[in-house]
Symmetry: C2
Subunit: 211 residues, 2 copies
């Protein structure tokens, strides 16, 4: 029960679990490369195993199937995004800018994974999971801001829904526009959330002012 | 070659094609009820045929499979949304408010379909198609507004991407919150696009002003 006690038996167990963790990490790294190179459907467990330098049987000791390996990759990517956001907030303060920068910069680096997750062939469940994670982060920002200075007129759950939609759609851009720089996306999103859209676009009212 | 010529043969042909169109419409109406009642996966062609009062064989004369019937329903829903938007714009002028109202009011009435399309089990392709249709409408609004008065600082394709994300996420709300009233969603979206979010939320800067 005491994890700190060092006995030959414990040492052996720890070595075994380290080895298993290494193999698992190797498989995931290989899976990622194969998914990125071939896409989800064409990726095969045989190729993943070959690239990880293990037997196909060993793959199945760690993952039920290809889908579980992919879901694990995505899940690790979300956890890491969360940690990056957490760290950025601790270092730079809690604001939407800081959160957006952390999300988009990391997501851009991981865009090979997101590109697969957002592919037309994929089930919506994966995107829903990204959205739930983002919505949780946004909730804490808005709640904290609201406690300091009440945000009047904003329906929190709806606003969080809108901003979550902006973020996932922003990430989905990398499906088609490789060149969309993460900092440029963040700058444009902040521009919209700072200035809104002209009344002319919203209601057409300022058109009357024209000659 | 002349569709307006009336011959007994033509009349017969027209009657046949009207009959086929009626059967097709009956099948779609039945499919919609069965999908709404059972969900996508549990819906069976046998039940759809029974409810449409046709044989299963007749179903297959009109649709390849269950998926084609569902896709057709969705497609008709998008076309109808487009027509509603078009009509609203002609009557009330081209503005985001008018477009959002038309989209959300109609989508709310069709939320049984959207709920199925946005279900976790569904492929992302369906949602992408909704987004493409919305993005096209937004492009024409922004382009028209820009021609009348240049929109400085806005990257069009990114802003359209953000607003598209807000709209699809707003529609996805009906997956969980039946009560979200379409006009309230539009009002909140317009509120956000008019006032943006407080600087305090965006960059944390106004926090310094606090005592």
């Amino acid at each position: 029960m005491n994890d700190n006690s060092v006995t030959p038996h414990n040492l052996e167990e720890k070595r075994g679990s380290r080895r298993r963790a290494r193999t698992r990490a190797d498989i995931l790294a290989a899976a990622r490369q194969v998914f990125a190179a071939r896409g989800y459907h064409a990726a095969s467990i045989a190729e993943i195993a070959e690239r990880a330098d293990i037997g196909v049987g060993t793959f199945y000791l760690h993952f039920r199937d290809k889908d579980e390996a992919f879901t694990t990759l995505l899940h690790e990517c979300f956890s890491e995004t969360r940690q990056r956001v957490q760290q950025a907030v601790e270092e730079e303060g809690q604001s939407l800018l800081v959160v957006l920068q952390a999300i988009f910069r990391y997501a851009y680096a991981q865009r090979d994974l997101f590109r697969i997750a957002f592919h037309a062939d994929m089930q919506y469940a994966r995107i829903s999971r990204v959205q739930t994670a983002i919505a949780e982060i946004l909730t804490s920002i808005l709640t904290a801001a609201h406690e300091k200075e009440p945000l009047v007129g904003y329906d929190f759950s709806m606003q969080i829904c809108f901003v979550t939609g902006m973020i996932t759609q922003g990430i989905a851009q990398w499906l088609e526009h490789e060149e969309a720089d993460p900092d440029k996306i963040v700058a444009q999103m902040l521009f919209l959330l700072r200035h809104g859209l002209p009344e002319q676009v919203l209601t057409g009212n300022s058109l009357e002012k024209q000659s």
